[in-house]
């Protein structure tokens, strides 16, 4: 345990569990045929079901169920072939029904695990308690009018997956690693876009503190934290607040709190003081959801390769280190790019170009892997030119920069600028002769035992050939001439 809070009465450890709300990728809503597209005109994607008109009945979207099952499979979790829907009752202006349809006692997905990796390279398993499906609420807009809030129901009824972790997290960093890994898995699966800025992934954070070896103490829930950095900050300040209360002889109240990032503090949400009295009961409009094992098996067979598996395969198939493989699989688009470059080529050379020169170029030009000025095929062709001796590694840097700037193919650039590597031994020998004549004094020094000068001669010959000479040929020829 590396993260502890040193209080007046000794060391405290933190206990954290996360509830992540992930918006499901689907065309239409969980229980209605209205569209889910982000950013549409207010209230244009609302059906009578979403607006909770009397007599409207929910009909479940099969694809949303499939997405929940895929996610469960991706989290190595148990899939429950029978699950049920309940009503979670509360009043709020963004919830026209007066209840949220959710799964309480019988969720579609049970226990699973996520393996996270920390900055020091260690891995840890974090337990998943459950995943259930539920409806998202609408959106309130507060800044348009001094006395009114505006209600937009476009989001109301969009399918969410609530993914609940075990209270296994012991450090703010682990919470960050957990969220990044979960988001990575969701993106690979294509079940949630993981975009925290647009609110398609949000986290509720449960925090408590305790002395080593104690049972759990009272926890507080910090609602709707919308970035990984804020989750880590919220855990730190909330844990510090609780330690202070306990050490001053107080009691931590179980309550719902808000994280105020600007002030760096958490505070009570007074409106939610009854929030835990949801009076769940089975939704009488919805029969139990029953799915077939064969259908689950078919979904499983069609799952894409997930980050951990891809990382292991990259290591064995392309002979690259664990760390590099991790960098590549962090985003699926980067992994795909790499694989196009590396297929049938030198995997180690490919990783150094992708994570080195390419990433640097993307940074510099403000582009992403999707909008990269150099595509994977072109970078691959350039590696071919290195492999077949057309250009050497040093010239390749120059060719690559030109590719970034002009978007031209590597062969065209090599021809246009005359960068073809010199392998003609006549030309190389001539350059060596010229260098040895110009630096006759250095030749004498070298021959009297100053071996270190060899590098100097290599440099001069490369300069003479404008960097295009094949370095291996230069080394060989130079050695035999100097030692003659």
């Amino acid at each position: 345990m590396s993260y502890v809070i040193e209080g007046k009465t000794g060391s405290w450890e933190i206990v954290v569990g996360l509830e992540v709300h992930a918006q499901v990728v689907s065309n239409s809503k969980l229980f209605s045929g209205a569209s889910t597209t982000f950013g549409a005109e207010p209230n244009s994607q609302v059906s009578l079901v979403d607006a909770a008109f009397p007599g409207m009945l929910p009909v479940i979207n099969k694809e949303c169920v499939a997405q929940a099952v895929r996610t469960g499979l991706g989290l190595n979790a148990r899939i429950n072939l029978e699950s049920r829907f309940d009503r979670k009752n509360y009043f709020y202006a963004d919830l026209p029904q007066g209840y949220q349809i959710s799964q309480f006692a019988h969720p579609i997905v049970g226990e699973g695990t996520i393996e996270i990796e920390l900055a020091n390279g260690e891995t840890r398993k974090i337990g998943i308690t459950r995943l259930h499906m539920e409806q998202d609420a609408g959106k309130l807009i507060h800044d348009q009018d001094p006395t009114k809030s505006m209600v937009d129901l476009n989001r109301a009824g969009v399918a969410l997956m609530e993914i609940v972790s075990e209270p296994d997290i012991r450090e703010p960093e682990e919470a960050g690693a957990y969220l990044r890994k979960l988001r990575q898995i969701l993106r690979y699966l294509g079940t949630c876009d993981g975009n925290m800025e647009e609110g398609s992934m949000r986290a509720d954070v449960n925090v408590s503190v305790r002395k080593a070896g104690e049972p759990f103490r009272t926890r507080c829930e910090i609602k709707n934290v919308n970035s990984i950095r804020f989750v880590m900050q919220a855990i730190e300040v909330e844990a510090a607040r609780q330690v202070e209360i306990w050490e001053n002889g107080g009691e931590v109240d179980q309550e719902t709190r808000l994280f105020d990032a600007a002030r760096g503090e958490t505070r009570t949400m007074r409106s939610k003081e009854d929030a835990h009295d949801y009076r769940y009961f089975p939704d009488p409009d919805l029969l139990p959801l029953v799915i077939e094992q064969e259908w689950v098996d078919a979904l499983k067979a069609a799952l894409p390769e997930l980050p951990d598996a891809k990382r292991a395969r990259f290591q064995s198939e392309y002979g690259i280190p664990f760390y590099d493989a991790g960098v590549l699989v962090a985003e699926q688009a980067v992994a795909d790019f790499y694989e196009t470059v590396a297929k049938g080529r030198d995997g180690k050379l490919a990783v150094s170009w992708v994570t080195g020169d390419l990433f640097a170029a993307l940074n510099r030009t403000g582009k992403t892997i999707e909008t990269s000025p150099v595509n994977a095929e072109a970078l691959g062709q350039m590696l071919d030119l290195i492999a077949d001796g057309t250009i050497n590694g040093k010239i390749a840097k120059e060719v690559f920069e030109d590719m970034v700037e002009t978007g031209e193919g590597p062969e065209a650039i090599v021809e246009k600028k005359g960068l073809r590597q010199v392998t003609d031994t006549g030309v190389i020998d001539a350059a060596i002769e010229s260098v040895m004549t110009k630096h006759a004094d250095k030749v004498a020094e070298y021959r009297s035992g100053k071996d270190k000068l060899f590098g100097f001669f290599v440099g001069q010959v490369m300069k003479e050939t404008k960097g295009k000479a094949n370095p291996a040929l230069v080394n060989g020829a130079l050695k035999s001439k100097l030692d003659a």
């Binding site: 005109e41 009114k148 809030s149 409106s271 919805l286």
Partner: protein, 95 residues
């Protein structure tokens, strides 16, 4: 089973129903009567009987993931007690 006044007050609050103190005892008695009536069910021995979730034998019907609805803002907002432009409006609620 006997419902007390404090619980009655809490149920009313959760349901957002305003009750005068004078009404409270009447409502308590009525609710208590309903609960007592329903409570007769607990006299039946259901040991080993799976919970009945509906009168139908079929499982939940599922629909395809296609957009078939929406784009009816004017119709929906026509029923709103208060609106402004494309929005419903409510008294300001800010945390």
């Amino acid at each position: 089973m006997s419902l007390d006044l404090a619980t009655t007050r809490r149920i009313a609050k959760l349901a957002r129903i305003g009750l005068e103190d004078a009404e409270l005892e009447t409502v308590r008695q009525k609710l208590d009567g309903i609960l007592g009536w329903v409570d007769q069910l607990s006299e039946v021995d259901v040991e080993g009987v799976p919970p009945m979730v509906g009168t139908e034998t079929e499982a939940l019907r599922q629909r395809d993931d296609v957009v078939t609805d929406g784009n009816c803002r004017d119709a929906i907002l026509s029923c709103a007690p208060e609106k402004s432009g494309p929005f419903y409006t409510v008294p300001k609620v800010v945390e």
